[in-house]
């Protein structure tokens, strides 16, 4: 029996190649979209789950509450780990780590600036799953000046040699390599390349700021014992800062408590302050999953529609089989089997398509997916579920419809229209559904595009064009040489301006603990802080709204604070002029600057303070005016090397770097555009085939009408009359739905486009008209046919 079904199915496909191709192609594309986005979604949902006992691993975080605000930090005091290890029996292991800024690493003649260099101890290997390639976990970082490398770093500096026992220089200190660990997977928020022992003395004691129980600067993780109750544990650590450090606690004026966060939830949770890595956005993850499903739905609707429309062609066969003794379940199984066969063929092709598209997915998402990723058990599991769901969902209605036919009706093909006499027309409902999805996708993609353009073109309040920024070697530029360093670069003809600072827009900045002098009782406020030189305001084009004339002219910068407008409001000073009478941390406010977007448009401008400093400079920003960029960069590099022979020349352009903040939104936009085009393609493919089929079914009617005087125009209108009302219904549903959905998405941006209805209306109607045009082609073709041929066909 199964062989008979298979033979019939294959021969049917061969006989009606066109429709089979449309079905298989549409399903293959839809399923490929599903598989690809499953890779992304699975990756995002799997963060840090690969660690053994990941359900017992928690990050310890700090909450600081003042009378004016609550701030939540991703780290806690470094004093906590020893206490956890010694006094908490429900802690199996614990560690903290201090991640360096990008650091110069050198071995033999090879040197690079490395990200992901961090100080820690062997506790990290007891908490996290970090397979060792060589070396012994448990003792690798127990001595000062020891380091563990990842495989990739080991190959970079030592090739295929075993690096154990060899030396590597991190910043200015030599470390002995005691271990090599496997490269980390991409689905972890704790990314590192080199770990060195935290017991290494890098700074003299008087160089270090005092460490207290309320300081939240160190990311800290614990692994609880299997029987531990995490709620009880959290309750016990909550007031540790108060219990252990009550003196500093009382002075600080802040209420400081600790709380835990499961490691597996960190990536998709709202970010805390001082996160090591920008977390993912669950809205985008679910949005992409929904997009893939929508494209698959369009393909399923095509399949259902075409199969049901062609049911009349199979009616005779159903009648014969029933006359020969077939029962309804047997016929149902036959047609479901055919559906399964087509879906299986589509799945095989979809896997091939997905494989081809993996490089594009990697580029778009910034995640490096291997070609084997598709064959992971969970992705294959999703593929099987999709196969079964599509076969059953898309195949069961036609199978039910056909198997239910009465033998007599089937033999006489009376069941031509499954919808005749029924109130609910499934085919029309499916067409409307497809068109709604297409319009929704198009409006969505267009809104994303408009918001991206807005963010790219909106004035930021500072000048980011023509800025080449160099990362300075650690502690290389200070009060004694900052001006001379700048002058050396200004001597290059193409450089017309230079400024040095601790941070630049778009990059990490300090959070400074400030208090209004005389109002200490009201509590401290942490605000964004830039340490700048006298040329920063001029070079970045930042307007000064209030202050001394020299400050306003940007010719001089005396000691004192510059605050932005938002800070003035945040401190409750009433006006810019009133701010000039205030002091912060006992230093006077010397000027108020216009708000500028030092972070992206996703968030509101936050309070910002600037202070002229001579220390901890990290960035040198150069204004470049030249058409010959290559030579200019060479000159800059030569100057850098002459000033900092041990340093690694690392530069970037500020406009490109700032735009990286929108990486997630850009990735979303690219995926939106791609899947919208795919969705439109699949919908047009299916509707085109459906229109062709329906026109063919009316061949005799068209022939008769033309014989009796109908023009081509009249016939085309007749054929399109079936689709035009469906387009209208789709537009009425899609336009408000997509408008509201996009409005909700835009609420996530502090600065956003004006989401009026007109653009959504125009775009939705436009996309539906494109679909209509494709359907019109079939109508015109049928209308132009010779009526003699039409009637001879009958």
């Amino acid at each position: 029996m199964f062989t008979n079904y298979l033979k019939i199915a294959l021969r049917n496909i061969r006989r009606h190649k066109g429709y089979a191709l449309v079905n298989i192609a549409g399903l293959a594309v839809g399923m490929a979209c599903c598989l690809l986005l499953s890779l992304y979604v699975a990756h995002e949902l799997s963060y840090d789950r690969y660690h053994n006992g990941s359900d017992r691993i928690y990050r310890i975080c700090t909450s600081k509450q003042t009378p004016v605000e609550e701030m939540r930090f991703s780290g806690c005091s470094p004093l906590i780990v020893p206490v956890l290890r010694e006094e908490f029996s429900d802690v199996e292991a614990a560690f903290n780590w201090m991640r360096n800024r990008p650091t110069l690493v050198r071995s033999n003649a090879v040197s690079f600036i490395e990200e992901g260099v961090a100080a820690t101890d062997d506790g990290i290997f007891r908490v996290l799953s970090t397979p060792f390639v060589c070396g012994r976990p448990g003792t690798c970082l127990d001595r000062p000046r020891t380091a563990v490398l990842t495989e990739q770093i080991s190959r970079k500096y030592f090739g295929n040699e075993n690096p154990i026992g060899k030396a590597i220089q991190i910043d200015t200190i030599l470390y002995e390599i005691t271990g090599v660990i496997a490269d980390q997977p991409t689905n972890t928020h704790l990314k590192f390349s080199i770990l060195y022992s935290s017991s290494t003395k890098i700074y003299a004691d008087d160089e270090l700021p005092p460490t207290g129980w309320t300081d939240p600067q160190v990311p800290t993780y614990v692994k609880l014992t299997p029987n531990a109750d995490p709620t009880v544990f959290e309750g016990r650590i909550k007031n540790l800062p108060y219990v252990r450090g009550n003196k500093e606690y009382a002075q600080g004026g802040e209420r400081v408590t600790l709380f835990t966060q499961p490691i597996t939830s960190i990536h998709l949770s709202p970010p805390l302050r001082w996160e090591a890595e920008t977390p993912g956005n669950p809205l985008y993850v679910y949005g992409m999953a929904a997009t893939a499903l929508l494209v698959l739905l369009i393909a399923c609707a095509n399949f259902l529609n075409l199969s049901t429309a062609r049911a009349a062609d199979r009616a005779m066969e159903v009648g014969i089989r029933k006359a020969a003794g077939a029962l309804r379940p047997q016929l149902f199984r036959q047609f479901i089997g055919e559906s399964f066969l087509i879906t299986t063929a589509a799945l095989i092709i979809s896997i091939a398509l997905a494989e081809l598209a993996i490089p594009a997915l990697s580029v778009t998402t910034g995640i490096s997916f291997s070609h084997e990723a598709i064959f992971q058990p969970q992705i294959l599991g999703i593929a099987v579920v999709v196969l079964l769901a599509v076969s059953l969902l898309a195949g069961s209605y036609p199978a039910l419809f056909l198997s239910r036919m009465q033998p007599i009706s089937a033999l006489k093909s009376h069941a031509v229209s499954h919808s005749r006499g029924r109130r609910f027309d499934l085919r029309k409902a499916l067409v409307v559904g497809q068109l709604v999805i297409v319009a929704f996708l198009v409006v969505g993609a267009f809104t994303v595009y408009r918001q991206m353009q807005f963010m790219r073109n909106q004035p930021l309040g500072f000048d980011k064009e023509q800025k080449l920024v160099i990362e300075l070697p650690n502690r290389s530029v200070g009060p004694n040489n900052s001006e001379t360093t700048k002058q050396r670069f200004l001597n290059i003809p193409a450089i017309s301006g230079a400024t040095i600072s601790t941070s630049i827009p778009g990059r990490w900045n300090y959070q400074w603990r400030t208090v209004v002098s005389g109002k200490e009782a009201e509590g401290y406020k942490r605000v964004n802080y830039y340490g700048i030189d006298k040329d920063f305001l001029k070079e970045y084009g930042i307007d000064v709204l209030a202050g001394e004339q020299s400050v306003k002219d940007r010719t001089n910068l005396p000691a004192g604070w510059l605050v932005n407008e938002t800070a003035v409001r945040s401190f409750g000073w009433g006006s810019n002029e009133a701010a000039l009478e205030q002091k912060l941390n006992n230093s006077r406010v010397i000027g108020v600057i216009k708000d500028f977007h030092f972070k992206g448009f996703q968030s509101n401008v936050e309070p910002l303070v600037l202070f002229r400093t001579g220390e901890d400079f990290r960035y040198l920003s150069l204004r470049v005016n030249t058409g010959d960029l290559q030579n200019t960069v060479s000159s800059i590099e030569s100057t850098f090397k002459s000033l900092f022979p041990e340093g690694v020349f690392n530069y970037f352009f500020l406009d490109t770097d700032f735009d990286n903040q929108y990486r997630a939104e850009k990735n979303l936009a690219r995926i939106c555009y791609a899947f919208t085009m795919i969705g439109i393609f699949v919908a047009i493919l299916g509707l085109h085939a459906l229109a062709a089929f329906l026109a063919q079914k009316r061949t005799k009617e068209i022939g008769v009408r033309k014989v009796f005087g109908a023009t081509t125009t009249v016939v085309v209108r007749l054929l399109l009359a079936e689709f035009v009302p469906l387009l209208a219904v789709a537009a009425v549903i899609a336009i408000p739905a997509s408008y509201l959905a996009m409005d909700k998405w835009l609420q996530g941006f502090a600065y956003r486009i004006d989401n009026s209805l007109m653009p959504a209306l125009s775009i939705a109607v436009g996309s539906l008209l494109i679909v209509l045009a494709s359907v019109s082609y079939q109508a015109i073709k049928a209308a132009r046919a010779n009526p003699v041929e039409s009637l001879k066909y009958e």
Binding site: K7, I320, A324, G325, R328, Q406, P407, L411
Partner: protein
């Protein structure tokens, strides 16, 4: 074998009610060959469909092999039909995607006959119908007469007790029509009951008995050749 009492069939649409069969009382013995004649729209095919359990009556009784089958559900009618009734249609009604052999074996598939026995039965019937050279051909590759031979072969492969033929010669020329009638007569002589709808008085004479329908009622009955001789 067959007995109907006041058999009725009414077709109802939104506006019109049509009585296709009106209190038909009909009997047929095992081994008989009966033909049904009448003008177009008199209810011949409707009667055939009811007797073949392809449709259900609106009223009256239908006994087939001493079982009351008129009120069975579609599922039960299908179960009863399997193996007991074979069909031959005017337009052959072969499945285009199946070869000659596969078309013939269809009833045996639904009877869940084991593969070896199935193939044996199909081979026997093909030999009897002289279809063996064509066994791997598709219906589109056969002439009308050959297609109808395949249809007859399919109708008899499960050795049914009754064959219902609805204008089996309607789409054939006289030569092939004669051939089909000869086949049906042979089957009848071998013991299979046959009930045939026809427009042709010539072919009606092959039957033991001809009944005439008019406006859904049996109006006359002719005896052809003697039954039981």
């Amino acid at each position: 074998m067959i007995r109907t009492v006041n058999l009725r069939k009414v077709f109802t649409t939104e506006e019109v009610e049509t009585t296709a069969l009106n209190d038909v009382n009909f009997e047929m013995k095992q081994g008989e060959f009966v033909s049904i004649m009448g003008p177009s729209g008199c209810g011949k095919s409707t009667l055939l469909n009811l007797l073949g359990l392809l449709d259900s009556p609106s009223g009256g009784e239908y006994n087939f092999m001493e079982h009351e089958v008129g009120k069975l559900s579609e599922r039960d009618r299908a179960k009863f039909r399997k193996g007991n009734i074979g069909f031959v249609f005017q337009s052959f009604n072969l499945i285009d995607e199946l070869t000659v052999a596969e078309n013939i074996e269809l009833p045996l598939l639904y009877l869940k006959t084991p593969s070896v026995k199935r193939k044996q039965a199909v081979q026997e019937v093909m030999e009897h119908m002289q279809l063996v050279p064509r066994k791997n051909h598709f219906p589109q590759q056969l002439s009308g007469g050959q297609q109808q031979r395949v249809a007859v072969a399919r109708a008899i492969v499960a050795k049914p007790k009754l064959i219902l033929a609805d204008e089996p010669t309607g789409n054939l020329d006289s030569r092939h029509g004669d051939e089909v009638m000869r086949l049906l007569t042979e089957l009848n002589n071998a013991g299979t009951s046959i009930l045939m709808v026809t427009h042709s008085p010539t072919y009606a004479e092959y039957a033991h008995r001809t009944i005439h329908l008019f406006d859904g009622k049996i109006v006359t009955e002719n005896i052809g050749r003697a039954f039981g001789v």
